[in-house]
């Protein structure tokens, strides 16, 4: 008899709005306190102290418009946040400061989260939906210079970009972008040529989220349908469907592969978090705690694997923190 699914390790309450994005920063040495950043619908970014489970700071930089993407830029003192006020803000949080150092105005009004990739010490690439409906723009940070704009071929009818993932094989090799589009396809872009290398129709509905494992050259995407699509990238850089997995309930809002590539978590519209083994997508657990759509899932970057956490943010204003499959 299988064990009943675990309860959350603890629950963070007090955002007083739907939680749209989460990001851990737990890689620091003692006495650095592990923290969790959450972005919510009321435009606040909360910095949660994971020792005390209390809010350390609440950052207000998006004019009370929903914050839907939060990322750190090397350590917890530099933060990037993306809000519905069409701004991407860069924060300086060192020594207790809460200042927006710089911001990028997005001309796109969609819901597409930006994607960040460190290409060298102190240099990042950021992909975001561009002004034109189907385009993706890549900027270099912190200089904010435009690296390239990725335009689909005329007549491709991909629709808006819905989710982005910048990645590179190993340090030094050229960065690539995976983008999920409104028409359900996933496209692999070469940034230097500004050309689509491969396109795969993964879903019938818009791709809501995707994640990619560059070691295994395998990715996973979810949409509003009842299906998870797993696809692989072969050596000719062609995307191929690897397998699909049918879900009990429709709608996936977020997918994340754990950094150790052992498990993958999905955030479901059916209020449930699902855990799968990444290797074969073996269903492992269904975590049923939330009472509304789960918007985001995120894994912590603790140095010690045993301390690794999973966080899920939901429309029910709560953030649930789970400790699951840490013994592997």
């Amino acid at each position: 008899m299988a064990l009943p699914p675990p309860d959350p390790q603890f629950v963070l309450r007090g955002t007083s709005a739907a939680v749209h994005t989460l990001h851990f920063s737990c890689g620091g040495q003692e006495p650095d306190v592990p923290v969790l950043f959450s972005g919510s619908e009321n435009g606040l970014i909360h910095v949660w102290n994971l020792k005390t489970h209390r809010v350390d700071t609440a950052l207000d930089g998006h004019g009370r418009k929903s914050v839907y993407c939060v990322e750190t830029m090397g350590g917890k003192n530099r933060l990037l946040s993306q809000g519905r006020d069409q701004r991407i803000c860069l924060w300086d949080l060192a020594e207790g400061r809460t200042a927006v150092m710089d911001s990028v105005f997005m001309e796109n009004v969609g819901f597409c989260r930006c994607s960040l990739l460190m290409v060298a010490q102190g240099r990042w690439l950021m992909a975001m939906a561009a002004k034109a409906l189907e385009e993706v723009q890549v900027l270099e940070l912190p200089s904010k210079t435009s690296v390239c704009t990725l335009k689909p071929e005329a007549g491709a009818k991909l629709g808006m970009p819905m989710c982005l993932k910048l990645w590179q094989l190993s340090g030094g090799s050229q960065p690539l972008l995976l983008a999920g589009y409104e028409d359900g396809s996933v496209v692999l872009w070469n940034l230097s040529m500004g050309k689509a290398l491969s396109q795969l129709a993964c879903h019938q509905e818009p791709v809501m989220s995707l994640d990619f494992d560059s070691e295994k050259a395998k990715g996973i995407s979810g949409s509003s349908e009842k299906v998870l699509s797993i696809w692989s990238l072969n050596e000719q850089q062609n995307l191929q469907v690897y397998k699909t997995h049918n879900l009990v309930n429709a709608g996936i809002s977020d997918i994340t592969i754990r950094p150790d590539k052992k498990i993958v978590a999905t955030a479901g519209w059916d209020h449930r978090i699902r855990i799968f083994g990444w290797k074969k997508l073996k269903p492992l657990a269904v975590l049923d705690y939330h009472t509304a759509t789960v918007h985001c899932v995120s894994f912590s970057n603790h140095k010690n694997p045993r301390e690794r956490l999973l966080a899920a943010g939901s429309k029910d204003h709560r953030i649930s923190i789970w400790s699951i499959y840490t013994q592997t």
Partner: protein
């Protein structure tokens, strides 16, 4: 104390050498005595060694008078051998000393075993940065000694310096040193660590050195064989080098064979994978040794498949043996496998069994990995064993290499997922709650669930529905698709039909009044017509709609009792036999019993029909049936036709027919063919529904008018309809038909609908 004495003696000797004569002799004597007191050359420290080096150099450079015969030679022979040897070779070219003299000292040097002392000294020195060149030079001198000597003496060198004598001597010396090494410093492989690399270099392209080396190891006494072999195996970077150094040692020396094939494989397990690879690779490199490889594999498999070993030996050892087996397998050739396929298979089966019995997952995985490999090797064409375990072996990554397992997802144990069912948003259970949700709820999930649940809720609660029927009908009529729901239009329509059939009179009154009121879209007006028609159809049908659904239960069928002689079944068997042997002459389907019940449309048909037909000619500001909205008029005409058809056998049918004929008359010259089609439809359904006597008695004039209209233009469907009209009138007159209580299921007249 003794070292200080030696130092003083050396300083004095350096002075004495300048004065020559007796003093020099005394000084050299003092040095020898002090050296002996210090414990011999081997015991000297670095500083004394350097001093002695300087002393020997000055001695070699001293005039003959300062070198008392017999004493100065002893200084070279007793002093530290490395400096002595170097200084002697350097002075071979020096004019002050006769080469002959030096060579004599060198000869003595060799004869007195100082060469082994020299090697020993070199081996003992810790490896230092910069000492590499020194060693290089020293080795060069050792190897080139015969050439040097013969060059100096111009061929008249003593026999000991002939290469054929010198090199065996050197080999013997090395063996002595090795003996000393393994004797005194067992386990101190660092010494071999110096010897082996040099030998590796020397044997690289020199077959003489190779032979020397082979001899060297062959002559290692059995007692020390293990240490030497182990040292060699650990120090060499690859199996080919090891093969070069050891030759066929394992074939010649039983001790070495035991060490290699038994001790290092089966008894010890601390060696690294690189050592194992060296060892087994060495066995695989020569045809003579391959037999040993197969033997070793057999023994390894024996251990691997022994349940006692699996249970009692430490997991590390089992992993070691598994690694060895995998390496052996990789070296085997097709023919060799062929020769021992059966044994491999037997061992594999046994081994798998006892490994899978183990309670340690690590052991089970090891068993699976090894078995998979064996299976893959022995079944080149047949099916292979396949466990879902993946293993990556990192062989070439040096000392810390080991088996790396990367399991499939199987090591992640799933939690109970039985609760993971489709989410059903709880729909309201009361009609009034539904009204609340449909009118003012922001929760789209709930709204969706309500829309989906409404029809069945209305049907289940007719009483509650009647209380709010008109309100509900109003809401449903105005209900818009706030969020996408699959089949929303149909869901809404079914709910409307349910409401209308549950409480027909008020709702029909409401809907028909709305059909002609202001501010409705054409679509809504057509919705109203659809709902009225569908409801009329439902009402006019027997209550089969909901009840017959349950009659689909499977017929009781006879199952043949297989081998069951239970007395309970005898009747069934008998029945079956009778059935099989009885011939039945009746053919055709058994009569389906028609469900029957009161026609509920009877009492309400008028409420559906008359309000619709009354107001068609009164244009509103937003709705002009006779004008541009003729498409709706067409639908209306068709709807009336269907209502007429469904009203068969109702009380109101005669009045309805009369009204309909007038309606048709008014519209008979309509420009739109869809409308005219509908009119024909109306007439045909009228002919079906209205009893013949009514037709002929009550509406003779209208009928004649229609007939003349139909006859006026003999085109399209009209002639047929005219024919039908005449025939119907005739039939109806002739025969008093007992009409079935209910019309046939598909109204032919609805063909245009």
């Amino acid at each position: 104390m003794a070292a200080a004495g030696l130092e003083r003696a050396l300083r004095e000797a350096a002075l004495g050498l300048e004065r020559a004569g007796e003093e020099a002799a005394a000084a050299l004597g003092a040095v020898r005595a002090a050296l002996a007191a210090a414990g011999g050359a081997a015991a000297l420290g670095k500083r004394e060694r350097e001093l002695f080096d300087a002393f020997l150099r000055s001695l070699a450079g001293a005039p003959r008078a300062a070198r008392p015969e017999g004493v100065w030679q002893r200084c070279f022979l007793e002093g530290p051998p490395v400096p002595a040897f170097c200084v002697l070779l350097e002075t071979l070219g020096c004019p002050r000393l006769y080469p002959r003299e030096v060579v004599e000292v060198l000869e003595q040097f060799l004869q007195e075993g100082r060469m082994s002392a020299l090697l020993w000294e070199v081996c003992q020195q810790p490896v230092q940065v910069g000492s590499q060149e020194l060693q290089e030079a020293l080795l060069n001198r050792i190897v080139c000694l015969p050439n040097h000597v013969s060059n100096k003496l111009e061929g008249k060198n003593p026999p000991v310096f002939f290469p054929q004598n010198y090199f065996p001597f050197l080999g013997g010396t090395i063996i002595q040193v090795l003996q000393k090494i393994s004797d005194s410093l067992r386990g101190k492989i660092e010494i071999l660590g110096i010897l082996v690399p040099s030998l590796m270099e020397l044997t690289k392209s020199d077959c003489i050195w190779q032979r020397i080396c082979w001899r060297l190891v062959e002559y290692v006494p059995d007692r020390w064989m293990e240490a030497v072999v182990l040292g060699f195996v650990q120090q060499t970077p690859g199996a080919d080098v090891l093969s070069r150094l050891l030759g066929n040692l394992v074939v010649k020396s039983m001790k070495a064979q035991f060490v290699v094939t038994q001790k290092m494989l089966l008894l010890q397990y601390g060696h690294t994978t690189a050592v194992l690879q060296n060892l087994l690779g060495y066995l695989a490199l020569d045809s003579l040794r391959r037999a040993l490889l197969i033997k070793a594999l057999q023994e390894l498999l024996e251990t691997w498949s022994s349940s006692s070993a699996v249970r009692h030996s430490p997991p590390e050892q089992q992993q070691y043996i598994s690694k060895a087996i995998l390496i052996c397998l990789s070296h085997l050739k097709e023919t060799e496998i062929e020769s021992c396929r059966q044994e491999l298979l037997t061992s594999m089966m046994e081994g798998v069994k006892c490994h899978l019995d183990s309670s340690l997952p690590q052991i089970r995985h090891l068993g699976m990995i090894v078995a998979e490999s064996i299976s893959a090797k022995i079944n080149t064409d047949g099916p292979v064993l396949k466990f879902q375990v993946k293993v990556t072996m990192k062989f070439m990554s040096g000392t810390n290499s080991c088996l790396h397992f990367s399991y499939s997802d199987d090591d992640l144990i799933p939690y109970d997922m039985s609760e993971d069912k489709e989410v059903k948003i709880k729909a309201p259970v009361y009609i009034r709650d539904c009204i609340e949700v449909l009118t003012g709820c922001e929760d789209m999930d709930k709204w969706e669930a309500t829309v989906k649940a409404l029809e069945s809720l209305v049907r289940k609660n007719p009483e509650a529905t009647r209380e709010v029927s008109v309100e509900l009908a109003k809401i449903l009529l105005h209900l818009e698709e706030k969020t996408y729901i699959e089949g929303f239009v149909e869901l809404r329509q079914r709910a409307q039909v349910a409401v209308l059939t549950t409480d027909p009179i008020p709702v029909a009154k409401y809907l028909t009044s709305q059909f002609y009121s202001l501010n409705y879209s054409l679509h809504q007006r057509m919705d109203i017509l659809d709902v009225l028609v569908l409801s009329a159809q439902e009402l006019s049908y027997p209550k089969s709609h909901w009840k017959t659904k349950h009659s689909g239960a499977p017929k009781p069928c006879i199952q043949l009792p297989h081998g069951s002689d239970s007395s309970k079944d005898w009747r069934r068997i008998v029945d079956e036999r009778i059935k099989n042997k009885t011939r039945r002459f009746a053919t055709g389907h058994s009569q389906v019993e028609l469900a029957s019940g009161p026609n509920e449309f009877n009492s309400v048909a008028g409420h559906f029909f008359f309000p619709l037909i009354q107001h068609f000619d009164r244009p509103l500001t937003t709705f002009d049936l006779l004008g541009e909205d003729h498409f709706v008029l067409g639908r209306l005409v068709h709807a009336l036709a269907v209502l007429m058809y469904l009203a068969v056998n109702t009380v109101a049918v005669a009045a309805m027919g009369k009204a309909l004929l007038e309606f048709v008359w008014a519209l008979r010259f309509h420009t739109d063919s869809y409308v005219r089609q509908g009119l024909l439809c109306c007439i045909s359904s009228l002919l079906f529904s209205v009893p013949a006597e009514c037709l002929l008695e009550d509406m003779t004039e209208e009928l004649l008018e229609t007939q003349s209209w139909l006859g006026g233009k003999r085109r399209g469907a009209r002639p047929h309809l005219l024919l039908l009209m005449e025939r119907t009138a005739y039939e109806r007159q002739q025969i008093t038909v007992l009409c079935p209580e209910h019309p046939p299921s598909t109204p032919a007249a609805c063909g245009f609908w």
